[in-house]
Structure formats: structure tokens, C-alpha cells
Symmetry: C2
Amino acid sequence: MNIALIGFGVVGQGFVEALHKKSMQLQDEHSFSAQVVAVTTRSRGALYHPDGLDLQALLETGGGPLADYPDTDGLQRDLSTMQIITESNAHVIVELAYSNLETGQPAIDHVKAAFNASKHVVLANKGPVALAFAELNALAAEKGVQFLYEATVMAGTPSLQLAQQAMRGTTIFSVRGILNGTTNYILTRMEAGMPYAAALAESQEKGYAEADPTADVDGWDAAGKVLILAGALFGKTLTFDDMDVQGIAHLMPEDIETAAAAGERYKLIAEATPDGGSVKPVRLPVSNPLAGVGGATNAITLSTDLMGDVTLIGAGAGKLETGFAILSDILLIHDRTK
Amino acid sequence: MNIALIGFGVVGQGFVEALHKKSMQLQDEHSFSAQVVAVTTRSRGALYHPDGLDLQALLETGGGPLADYPDTDGLQRDLSTMQIITESNAHVIVELAYSNLETGQPAIDHVKAAFNASKHVVLANKGPVALAFAELNALAAEKGVQFLYEATVMAGTPSLQLAQQAMRGTTIFSVRGILNGTTNYILTRMEAGMPYAAALAESQEKGYAEADPTADVDGWDAAGKVLILAGALFGKTLTFDDMDVQGIAHLMPEDIETAAAAGERYKLIAEATPDGGSVKPVRLPVSNPLAGVGGATNAITLSTDLMGDVTLIGAGAGKLETGFAILSDILLIHDRTK
């Protein structure tokens, strides 16, 4: 299987590292082998070799200029991203480039171009799934190609594979989760007695929160994941305007203490149902499996007809963890197309 | 797809109920349709119709004599279980009959006969997987048929599908879990201040514990699941004699209190690694996701290289829940053979 990476930041490097480490195991256990034939970046150059790039040499560029990748016979450095999507011998386009959550561009155009070239797409990038799910899903179906995006919710923790594969046959009534690690870390620290501002500063020191933490603490990052889950699980097109989105910045230490005294715990809960979605702080009894999820960990609870509640807890971010999500989607494509 | 059920107790009825409820949804969403062509029981008769039995009429026998199922053209009532396994037009044999955990019989013979007749097997019955995993797995591979047993660990909560499908590509170092609902219920009640004997009596009243609770409270039920996980995830053949198996009957209210005072909680933890397995009460910090699992719920944590720890929490028993496990395995066979 030939793979092209659009973007080569932390997640792209995590994926290449996972693939490189695991290539023998994947060959032995799943008869799976893959080449990365192309990498493109916005400002650090591009590489294309129809026989595959050297993964070790690629990792050694370390997120620096791709000019550092050694010259070999047949290597091309001058193709544009669109040329690589449409003209390369890649079977799978992995879209990892930055895209903003307002327009979803340029990723949406990349995904459409890939589908129109009959290529499968794997996304780590929330924009296209959050903003253009129905259109992209329909186009993928029309072209008979796969459209997978496990990395967009809980990194490699298989939240979508659980809902879309393992729980097939159940009817899912709702999905509720802790889908933003930064806010969960802050709430966990506040419960240990730290004021909001200090907990936020600590989460920035640890690299969980961005310098501008608005998207996390005001709930918008989690809301983007609600859009994805609504589309993926319920075929429901939501926009940010359709949702009640609240963050955690208004929570006071007294609120946390009052909840604790009542045997409850505040969590920023993202919810999608067939009727809509929301993100807001919710007081959960400590016996709720989501209440026990501490630190930067993520979790999701599916409420179903045949199985009641099923909860999955795991990493929600991380280089190898998100890289694994890409690998996992590519293995699904391998299964479905062999 | 034609299905034969060996055994028609609670789980068999749960499966037929799930299939009956979901047949339209399965057809629409997964292009899946199935007939139950045969049902055999030890003492309540047998039914075989190559065109499929009527599911509603089957459910109306309610676990009573199959003689109550109405006569129709082409219905045969006189086939033995072995005849149904080898001579019917079933593609999948679902083995649900009682088998003891010492010999695994008669289920092991049923499974072998099915494989030799080139039929797939789905098991709800722990015996064959716990006691003859390597042999049965090799025979299934040789015959090119599927051998699935999701129901044997955590009912329909997709513990095996998580480990064997969704986490493919990771290396799993260990699996630890709460795999016996009865003991977890008792420990949860003891933590609320109830003495062991009273908590056991309450769990019997609620139908979680058997009249003879030995297999649960002494850890043997969980140990059977460790044998299955060791075989399924690590290709490791264990026997009960290889394992340190302890139950919860020796835990005193003081032990529980001492743990609580230290911010910890006793759980009966079943563990399998590539090197072996064990079942024993372990004091977990309350921040561990397994510590938050209360009542009769089950849970499993996979420790992996790429993804760290991933935890799945859900029902570990129940009529529809175990019926769903069978359905889920049959959907996997549908995927893999279409």
C-alpha cells in the first residue's frame, strides 16, 4: 500500500515512527506492508518517490527542511501538494496539514481532490470532518473509497472503531465524553485544591494547553469533536451555532468543593445525540465511570439499546498515540480492500 | 448466513431476541441477513429447517420444550446435535451448551466436528477456549474457518474485538481486568460498610451469585477468563495449575477500611501477560480507572507500547448483552467471508 502524507509535523512523524517500528510485526501478523511514497509540507518542501521513501532518513529530518533528506535516483522534490494527491501512485492520502476550524481549508479541497482521484483518505485534521462531513462522506461513497478519521477524536484510543465497528448491531442513543485533556487536567488539579489560574498555568507548563488556551477552556475543541461524532454516529450535520457550548473558566473552587461534598465531580462533558450536541460542565456522581477519569486522559461513554453503557478510556493526544490512529485506519483500509 | 444453535438457554434466547429485533437494521446498514436453521438442546428436543426457523415462534417456546414449536413442512425434529453440526446447511455453529470447566466437554467435540465440516464456530461457552485454545485455533486455521468467542469475556462488551481488532499494530504487554461481576458487586457493597456474608447474600438475591458461589468468590470464574485472554492475546497455553488464584472470601471489613484510608480500593484483578496469569485482590489507587468500576460491571485495561493504557468498561453478563456478543462475532464472520 502506497501512502502520501500531507503535512509532516508531530503527528506525521509519530505515524512514520510507528510504521517504522512496527513494519515487521505488521507484515508477520497482518500480511500488511506499506511504503510512504510522498511527504508534502507548507514551507519545508516536498518529497516523492514512487518506490517509497526511506523511513529512517525521513525521521532524521526531524520536522526540519525536507531538503535534508538525501538525494536518490528517481526522487522528485518539486511536486505540489495537489500534484501529489492527484498524480502520485499513492493509494491513501493522509491529511495532516493544519486547517482552521472555521473554513476547514485547505484540507477540505485536498480531501475532495483525493476522492476524485479515487484515493482513500485518512484524516488527523478535524476541520474537514467537523465542517463538511456529509458532503465528503457522500463523495467517498460515490467514488467507492474509504474515508476514515479515528485520530480526530481521542487520538489512537479507538473511539470511532468502537462505535462504528465493535458495537455494530446496537442502536446508539447518545455518546458522552471527556474529549479535551487540557480542561480535564485543570479540573483534576482544581479538585486537589488549586485555583483555576494556577491549574491553567501548570497545564501550559506541561504542554497540554496552548499559549492561547481559549479553544480548550471555552469548550470549542470539544465542540469540534461533537460535530464529528454527530456526523459519524448519527448522520447528523451540526454546526457550532446549533450547540450549547460552555467552558470551565467560570468554575470557582467553591463550585468544585460543593460538588465534592455531595459525592460529585465536575467534568467538561461533550455530548452528541441524534437530536443535537452540547459541551458543558456537568456534575457527575463519583460512581459514574467518566467521573473517575483524571488528568489529561480522555473517555467516551456510548449508551446503547442491547449493551447499556460502554465506556472507553485512554490517551486523547500524543505523538505516537495519534500516529497510531493513522496506522489503525490504514489497517482498516487494508482489511476492507484486500 | 445460516446459523445453528447448540443450546437454547438464556444466552441462546438473548441472541435470537437480538437478531429478531435487529434484522431490518442489520439488513439496511450492513447488508447482513441470517436464518437460524437449527436449535438443539440436551433434553428439550431439536429443530432443523433448511429454510430457517421462525424466530418469533422460537422465542415463544421460552426455554421450554421445543415440541411447542409449531410443525411446518420440511421441519425435522429428530436430528442429533452431531448430525446438525455435520449434516445441516448451517455455515456457523454457535456453541452455547453447558460444558464443565474441567473437561470442556461436550463442547470441545462439537467445535472440532464443526471445523472438520468446514463450519465457522462462535462460542459463548468458556470451556473449549479455556482448555483447548491452541488445538482448536490451529484446526480452525487449517480448515480456513473462523473461531470467535467474544461472549466468553465481558459478555458483549467488545474486549476481544478491542484487543484483536481495534488495537492491532500495538504490542500488548498485559491485560488486567475486573472480569467477575459477582465479586465486584460484593466488594462494592463491603466498601459501603456491609460485611462479606451479607454482601454475598445480597448478590445471591439479585441473581448475580449462584447458590454455590465458589467459582465466583474463589476466583475460578475469573481464572477461566485469564486462560482465554492468555491464549487469544499472547498465544500462551496456561492451565489453572499455572496460576496464582485467590478469591475475596478472606477479606475483612478492616482490610477494606485500611485501603480506603490510604486512598485505595480492593478489586479482584485478573491479569494475563505473555509470561502467565493470576487472579487476586489488589489495592488500587482510586485514580486507577479500574478502581472506579462499581457494582456488577466489568472492565479491562490493555497496557500497550504505542497507546499506553486503554480501558474498556461495560456489562459482564446479561441475556441481551451476551446475545449481542454472539451477533457481533457473526457480523465479523460476515465481514471476513463476504
